[in-house]
């Protein structure tokens, strides 16, 4: 069957899977950002916490994604079959790029600026919120951009544990040995990733301070 015919015949289904996929990604990214950005702010001045947080986030990233989904299934409350487990796994994957970029952005600031801020009598939290954070936002957004693209890709595997999304077509296509079915999942996923990359890249350039 030609992919085009398959696309046309199943467009409602594909659209629904794309929407599912996007929801999965958006929820996971929102949670990952809500964890990683404040954590990145917290570790600027705390070395022990910094080492623990960055190491843990790196470890999550090294676990093969299919294995991570598998590991989570038997865990009570967060595990099981379905969307919730997938979100937990996606969040764990997205943490590292956001956390690392937040930390690097907040600490990679011109020392003269930080010295002036401190010498003018700004408190540590004022320096963080009014100097470090605004100057780091382009770098933080770059981390969010990387994490989003990773999440869009990894979210296709979430279908393996029954979380739905575009992976459904890919797994079905592999089982049916049908390129058309695989592409019905793969092409929208790729398009989502490209769109996210462009959009966030645009935003990143606007936030950049020279």
């Amino acid at each position: 069957m030609s992919p085009w015919i398959f696309f046309l015949e199943h467009r409602a289904e594909i659209l629904e899977a794309t929407a599912n996929h996007l929801t999965l990604v958006l929820i996971s990214m929102a949670i990952a950002i809500a964890i990683a950005v404040p954590l990145g702010m917290l570790i600027v001045h705390r070395r022990t916490l910094r080492n623990i947080a960055l190491t843990l986030a790196s470890i999550f990233q090294t676990i093969p994604s299919l294995a991570l989904f598998g590991f989570l299934i038997p865990i009570p409350f967060i595990g099981g079959i379905g969307r919730r487990t997938a979100i937990v796994a996606l969040v764990l994957y997205a943490l590292l790029p956001i956390l690392r970029n937040t930390y690097v952005g907040l600490t990679g600031i011109d020392p003269a600026v930080l010295e002036a801020a401190e010498a003018m009598g700004m408190t540590e939290s004022q320096i963080l919120l009014r100097v470090r954070l605004p100057l780091a936002r382009a770098v933080i957004l770059a981390g969010i951009r990387t994490a989003t693209i990773i999440t869009i890709g990894v979210a296709t595997i979430a279908a393996a544990i029954g979380a739905g999304g575009l992976g459904t077509f890919i797994f079905r296509g592999v089982a049916m040995v049908s390129d058309a079915v695989i592409l019905a999942g793969a092409i929208p996923a790729a398009l989502l990733a490209i769109a996210a990359d462009l959009l966030l890249g645009l935003l990143e350039r606007r936030l950049k301070i020279t």
Binding site: D110, A112, V113, E115, A116, A117, E118, A119, M120, G121, M122, T123, Q126, V131, P134, L135, I209, T210
Partner: protein, 261 residues
């Protein structure tokens, strides 16, 4: 400009009492050792010395960016470690070589930093910003909304001075503020600042490795060598001080014909 700190003048002095500072609070291998001097209100003290002689360390001990390993620094009648560091620093203007302007703030926002921290009303802040821009020779309407990247090095340094003066602090610390400028701009700013300093009546501690600058601005020069004070004199007496490091600094002026030292 009128000083609003008439009552504070008496206190706006700085004393170093046998101060030694070394990394991690150790007295071994100190960066500065056994430093003792006082700065009277309204005086411009220049700390002169080669790179690494400990000038900047002394400056940072005054606003408690550093704390002495032994001895004490007294600022406006109180030991720096007894001060709330935030309150201490809000009363001390600070100008550094690269200006350290906030790149994400406009010129006006940079100057208004301490007033905004002190929660001044916006009308008062705006008036103060314009007053200061005029004071440092920048047309307010033209420069107020610019970003630091849209300024030349000399203009950035002018804004740095304006920012340091914003809340009218009785003390001004300056760490080679004109060091990164081209020689012509540097001379312009030195002369303007010299006039400004006399007019403002602030207590100023000024760090430089340039004897010419020291002679122009100082009411008193302290020469540092390897973390110790080796000379303490008025600009008039300084060239006559009998010390090898003083002679070395004088000699650094010599190749220039017509040096006014």
């Amino acid at each position: 400009m009128k000083s609003k700190t008439g009552a504070g003048i008496e206190q706006s002095t700085i004393h170093f009492e046998d101060v030694t500072y070394g990394f991690n609070g150790t007295v071994n291998q100190p960066i500065v050792a056994e430093i003792g001097f006082s700065v009277a209100a309204g005086q411009t003290l220049v700390l002169l010395g080669r790179s690494g002689s400990g000038k900047t360390t002394l400056l940072r001990l005054i606003n408690r960016l550093l704390v002495p390993s032994s001895g004490q620094v007294v600022v406006r009648g109180r030991i720096t470690t007894d001060w709330d560091p935030i309150q201490l620093r809000r009363g001390i203007g600070y100008v550094i070589q690269d200006a350290g302007l906030f790149p994400h703030f406009t010129v006006a926002e940079n100057i208004a930093l301490v007033p905004s921290l002190e929660k001044w009303e916006s009308a008062r802040t705006a008036a103060r910003v314009d007053e200061l821009l005029t004071l440092v020779g920048l047309e307010p309407a033209q420069y107020r909304s610019r970003r630091p990247r849209e300024l030349s090095g000399g203009q950035r340094q002018r804004v740095g001075v304006a920012r340091a003066l914003a809340a009218d602090p009785p003390i001004l610390l300056m760490d080679e503020p004109f060091g990164a400028l081209d020689p012509v701009t540097r001379a312009e700013l030195q002369h303007e600042f010299s006039a400004l300093a006399r007019r403002l009546g602030k207590t100023i501690v000024f760090v430089t490795h340039d004897l010419r600058e020291a002679l122009l601005l100082a009411s008193r020069i302290i020469l540092l060598e390897k973390g110790r004070i080796v000379a303490d004199a008025t600009p008039q007496d300084f060239p006559g001080v009998d010390h090898p490091e003083v002679r070395a600094f004088i000699a650094s002026l010599m190749p220039l014909p017509g040096a006014n030292a």
